[in-house]
C-alpha cells in the first residue's frame, strides 16, 4: 500500500518535472527540473529493489553530469529570449514525431510476434551489486570495454576540438614574439604579453578537455 503511494507520487513527480524540462523558458529552471526527474527515477529504482542503481543514478547523473549542464548554461549565459526564438514549428513537429515513434517502438516491444515476450520478473540477484558486477565483468566484458573505449574516443575528440580553436592566440602571439625578437626596434611589452596569453589558453584547453 505504502509502496503504491510512493510510486504514484514519484512517478507523477518524474513526469511533471520532465515536462517542465522541455517547456520552461528559463534553461536554469529546466536543468533544475531535470535534477528532480532524475531523483524521482532513483526513488523508482529503489522501489524496484535496485538501490545500487539508484545510488549510481544520483551520484553520476544528478551529482556530476547535470552539474556540468548547469555549469555550461550559466557560463554561456543563455537568456530566456534566445531559447524562445529558437523554438520554431519545425522543432515542435520533430519533437512530436520523435516522441510518437518512441511510443510505437516501446509499444511494439510489449506485443508478442514483434520479438517481445512475456516479461519475466526481475531477478533480485541480477540487480544486486555482486550480480551486476558478475554480469558486467563476465558475460558482457567485451561490450563493457568497448563502451569504455567509446567514451575515451569522445574525450580525446573533445580535447582535440577544444585545443584546435584555442591555439589561434598563442601562434599569433609566438609569431609576434619572434617578429619582435627579430626586429629589436619594437618595445619589449609585445614580446612579453603574448607568451602569457599562450600559457593561459593552453591550460584552459587542458582543463576543458579533462572536464
Amino acid at each position: 500500500m505504502i509502496e503504491v503511494a510512493i510510486f504514484a507520487i514519484f512517478a507523477a513527480l518524474a513526469l511533471a518535472s520532465a515536462l517542465v524540462v522541455v517547456l520552461h523558458r528559463n534553461p536554469v529552471y529546466s536543468t533544475m527540473s531535470l535534477v528532480v526527474t532524475l531523483i524521482s527515477l532513483a526513488v523508482l529504482f529503489v522501489l524496484l529493489g535496485a538501490p545500487f542503481i539508484a545510488a549510481l543514478q544520483v551520484l553520476i547523473y544528478t551529482g556530476a553530469i547535470v552539474v556540468l549542464f548547469l555549469f555550461v548554461v550559466m557560463l554561456l549565459n543563455i537568456g530566456r529570449e534566445e531559447i524562445g526564438e529558437q523554438r520554431g514549428l519545425v522543432q515542435k513537429g520533430a519533437a512530436v514525431v520523435g516522441a510518437g515513434a518512441l511510443l510505437v517502438i516501446v509499444g511494439l516491444s510489449y506485443m508478442e510476434g514483434y520479438g517481445g515476450a512475456e516479461l519475466a520478473p526481475l531477478d533480485e540477484e541480477l540487480v544486486s551489486l555482486t550480480g551486476l558486477a558478475a554480469e558486467l565483468f563476465g558475460r558482457y566484458l567485451l561490450t563493457f570495454e568497448l563502451v569504455g573505449l567509446l567514451l575515451l574516443v569522445a574525450v580525446i575528440a573533445a580535447t582535440v576540438l577544444a585545443a584546435r580553436e584555442r591555439p589561434a592566440v598563442p601562434t599569433v602571439g609566438r609569431d609576434l614574439a619572434t617578429a619582435a625578437t627579430l626586429e629589436p626596434g619594437e618595445d619589449g611589452l609585445v614580446s612579453e604579453r603574448p607568451d602569457d596569453e599562450g600559457d593561459l589558453a593552453g591550460s584552459a584547453g587542458v582543463a576543458g578537455g579533462a572536464g
Partner: protein, 356 residues
Amino acid sequence: MLFDLGATAVKLGIFLGILLGAIAPVMVWVERRGSALIQDRPGPNRLGPWGLLQPAADALKFFFKEDVTPSLADRPLYLAAPVLAVLPALTTFVFIPFGPTVEVAGRAVPLVVSDASAGVLLFLAIASLGVYSLVIAGYASNNKYSLIGGLRASAQLISYELAMTLAVVAVLIPVGSFRLTEVVAYQRELWTPFGMWNVVPQLVGFFIFMVAAFAETNRLPFDLPEAESELIAGFHTEYSAMRFAAFFMSEYIAMTTLSALAATLFFGGWSFFGLVEGAARTVAGWFGPFWLWMGLFGLGTLLLKTVCFLGLFVWVRWTFPRFRYDQLMRLGWKVLLPLALANVIVVAAATLAGWL
C-alpha cells in the same frame, strides 16, 4: 514495525540533536577562538566563561537581522538555495554507524539509522547534491561575484568528487561491501586480535580523501567559491540573516558528516581496539542494560574521533594560504586523480595477494 519505527526515530533524534544543538554552535566557538589562538589574539571572550555564550549571541543576531532579497534576484531559486544547502548536509549522517547490532528487549537493533546495502555510495550521492545550493545561490543572486563563485563551486566539486570516490572505493575493495557497518567490522578483525585501523594500509587513500574533503566542503585552502579577497563572499554575497546562517550551518554540518565518514572509513569508526565493547560490558555488569552503554560509548568514541578531524579542519583553515584556481584544477586532475587510480590498483592487487 512500530518498535522499529520508534527506534529509528530515537536514533534520528539523537543525531539531529547532536548536529544542530551541539556541533554547529560549538564549532562556531571553536572556529572563532581557534583562529584567535593561532593568530595570537584573544578572540571573543566577553560573553560567558571563555566567550562560550558567543554562539548564542551570534544566533540571536542572525534571527533579528533584516532579511534582504535583491530586487533583481530570481526569487524562487534565491529562496530555495539555502534549503538545498541544509537538506543534503542533514541527511548523510544516517549511514554512519555508532555501534554494533545490539539486543533491545529481545529484538535486534542495529546502532545505525540506515544500513542500506549501497550505504557509502548513497552517502556520496546525497553529499554531491549539496553543490546545487552553491550554483543556484550564485545564479539567483544576479550578482557577478556570486555567479563566479557558483561557477567555481561547480567545477571544483566535480573535480574533487572523482578523487574522493576513488579513495573510498580503495577502502571498500578488501571489505567487499558498501555497508559502513561492514567497513567497521572489517577493521576490527584486520591483522591483530584487536583489529587495525584502515589508515595504516591505506595511508595514501586517506590523504587523497582528506584533501578532497577540504575541497568538497569549500574550506581553506580550497575556499575559491567564496574567496573573500577577490569575490567579497562568493556565492552567498547577497544573503543575509537566517538564510546566510543556513549556508554557514550547512558548511559545518557537511564538515562534521565528512569527518565522521573519514573516522569510519580510516580510523575504526565507533570501535577502539575492542576497548569500547569491554567498557560497555564492564559498566553493564554494575548497572543498566548493555545496549544503552554500548550505544553511549560507541557514540562517544565516534564523536571524539569526529571532533579531532573538525579540529584539523579549523587548524588547516587558519594555517594555509588559498590556492590559485589553476593550481586547484591541476592538483585535482593531474595529481590526485592519477594517484587515486594507482591507489585503487595497488589495493586491488594487495587484496588479491591476501595481504588485506
